[in-house]
């Protein structure tokens, strides 16, 4: 088996290196590094979005969630699909029409102040690092389970592998790795799905009857409440996931890699169809894992259920299928982490370095050096942090990034585009309160506090009762934007307002570029 795993991993590594080689020839300017020159097609960007969004926690986590908690798996799954509606209806087209390379570009299209850009950039970097921590900890845990490679070494291997193609190929290489990974992931899931359903004679409804007796929880497996007891906590999780994607910098940046709003729109259609098909298969793969592999075996391999899919693959498809699914998981982590690093590094190099320190006068060469340096630093920081977070729950780290994005970025994005009275003070205050407020709530939540010594970071009763802070922190972010706007209203009245300009730009699109030339 080891040989098969090594061969498949090598094929994927060589494949990504080849992509990097061709992409590096096209990555001569900072613009091509940041957003692949903005020339992707709808299908390419839709696949890349799927590749960006379907992380290891989606693929391994969701199948595990359905296998271990039955119906409650839905609370982790469906908000992800619907989050693309939030993106489609509210964010994608204005973002494409206003932004250039980063989220900072979009917000400063209305408020041309350095502090707005700086806060947006720092926000992007913080959220990116949190999201990356979840991915790296997952990678470490995964390779330890799959291949027996120690946690620390796995993280360093993923970090260096990803950096290689980010440094040379920028967003072009990252996009292609994501596209190929999305195809492998959906293809691999489909093959596994057929193999599993074969065992059940493709009797989808009959499978439900079998699930009643397949697990230690009995008939409850099919009822809500195996994992979540509080509707409020589940709703908070749903809200965070639903709104979070529309504020995640590495997802938003994907809409700047396409030429116009029409293509941005069509790429959402692509990603929604891909994810819809994927989600349908995930439900039955979870059932299959619970029935065929068995809940106790899955929990024994990993209490969070992350091994459900690989174990199921081994059972129905033998060692080759196990090796294939493991290799796909490896590609998944590489692709997602690469997208995050490019986004964070672009925010540093374009927003902080070029626009703020150099007043937009940095040369291409300086920017290319800076974006590469930033990629290395962000990766190094994330690796060091993730080494100390080994015992943290992966799903919690990922959902924290979503909630941070929904509480700090999303309110500002929406108000910038849709609220005429919104001002600079509101934007800065909203982002900072959203970011710090979420982090404070998490620090007071049961994720950090547990009365049982050793069960969490600190021992004691949690002051804030919910493990997902979204239902409080997201309204807090919107409220802070409102309060900040009221505070800054007098000062803003004296400043030039660009609302009409961005209103017309965001709704009429790139064609208005013609106006600028007038």
């Amino acid at each position: 088996m080891d040989m098969q795993v090594i061969i498949l991993f090598s094929i994927i590594t060589i494949g990504t290196l080849l992509i990097t080689y061709f992409a590096s020839k096209k990555t001569k300017t900072a613009g091509s590094f940041y957003t692949a020159g903005g020339g992707l097609t709808a299908r390419q960007n839709g696949l890349a979005l799927a590749g960006d969004f379907m992380s290891a926690s989606t693929f391994l986590g969701l199948i595990g969630a359905f296998a271990l908690s039955g119906f409650d798996g839905f609370f982790l799954m469906y908000p992800a699909l619907l989050s693309f509606l939030v993106i489609l209806f509210l964010v994608a087209e204005p973002l494409r029409n206003l932004g250039k390379y980063t989220l900072g570009d979009m917000i400063t299209a209305r408020y041309r102040f350095k502090q707005v850009r700086a806060v947006t950039a720092i926000n992007t970097i913080v959220i990116s690092i949190f999201y990356m921590l979840g991915q790296l900890v997952a990678a470490g845990a995964l390779f330890k389970l799959l291949l027996g490679i120690p946690f620390h070494i796995s993280i360093i291997i993923v970090g260096i592998g990803m950096l290689t193609f980010v440094l040379f190929g920028g967003m072009t290489a990252t996009s292609w790795v994501q596209i190929i990974k999305a195809i492998l992931l959906v293809g691999g899931t489909f093959i596994l799905f057929i193999m599993v359903m074969w065992q059940f004679n493709f009797n989808f409804i009959g499978m439900f009857a079998e699930m009643k007796t397949a697990t230690p929880v009995g008939a409850d497996f099919l009822n809500p409440g195996v994992k979540y007891l509080s509707g409020l906590d589940a709703a908070s999780l749903v809200l965070g996931l639903l709104l979070g994607a529309a504020g995640l910098p590495h997802i938003l940046v994907r809409f700047l890699t396409v030429p116009n709003a029409q293509v941005a729109r069509k790429s959402v259609v692509w990603v929604m169809w891909i994810m819809g098909c994927f989600h349908f298969m995930v439900i039955f793969l979870g059932f299959g894992a619970a029935k065929l592999v068995g809940m106790p075996t899955i929990i024994e391999a990993n209490p969070a259920g992350n091994m459900a899919a690989p174990l199921l693959a081994q059972l129905v498809g033998g060692d080759l299928m196990f090796a294939f699914i493991s290799a796909v998981s490896f590609a998944t982590i590489l692709a997602v982490v690469a997208g995050i690093v490019v986004t964070g590094a672009a925010a540093f190099s374009h927003d902080l370095y070029n626009e703020i320190f150099k007043n937009g006068q940095a040369t291409e060469k300086q920017q290319m050096t800076m974006v590469r340096l930033a990629s290395i630093v962000i990766t190094a920081v994330s690796i060091v942090l993730s080494l100390s977070l080994q015992s943290f729950n992966v799903a919690f780290l990922a959902s924290l990034a979503f909630t941070l994005a929904a509480s700090s970025n999303l309110p500002v994005i929406l108000f910038t585009v849709f609220w005429r009275k919104f001002n600079k003070t509101g934007a800065v205050f909203g982002m900072l309160v959203g970011l710090l407020g979420t982090l404070t709530l998490v620090a007071l939540s049961p994720n950090v506090w547990n009365p049982v010594p050793g069960a969490a970071l600190l021992t004691g009763e949690a002051i804030f009762p919910l493990s997902s802070p979204g239902i409080v922190s997201i309204p807090l972010g919107f409220l802070a934007c409102y309060i900040g706007t009221k505070i800054g209203a007098k000062k803003a009245a004296l400043e030039e307002d660009r609302y009409t300009e961005i209103l017309v730009k965001s709704h009429t699109g790139s064609d208005v570029k013609g106006v600028i030339k007038h």
């Binding site: 839905f74 509606l85 939030v86 509210l90 009857a209 009822n223 009409t500 064609d511 106006v515």
Partner: protein, 108 residues
């Protein structure tokens, strides 16, 4: 710098003129109504499930075999979200037409 300022003023005029066009105002009103109503629908539809599933028994009705209403609700997110996505694409194509005619009238 002076050039920039002058250019800048000319954009503002152009943007203001488009923003004041009746056609543009109608477009904004239509878009607002469309986006708001659908967004309220899919956000509401998403947030309803946790409360119905965890605080009530209304979804525990068996529909066929062991498949309950709760499972149909859960799976329904896939067709419902693809349907809403499809509605958006069709409406957006209509909005594109309006924008095109606005820009043509402004000779952009």
């Amino acid at each position: 710098m002076q050039n920039e300022v002058r250019n800048h003023h000319s954009h503002v005029t152009k943007y203001d003129r488009i923003a004041e066009m009746d056609e543009f105002r109608v477009l904004m009103a239509e878009k607002k109504k469309f986006i708001l109503s659908y967004t309220l629908f899919y956000v509401g539809y998403s947030l309803l499930l946790p409360f119905l599933a965890l605080y009530t028994d209304v979804l525990n009705v068996h529909v066929f075999g062991e498949v309950t209403l709760a499972w149909l609700y859960g799976v329904s997110f896939i067709p419902v979200s693809l349907w809403v996505c499809n509605v958006y694409v069709k409406r957006a194509a209509h909005f594109d037409e309006v924008v095109k005619s606005i820009l043509e009238r402004e000779n952009v």
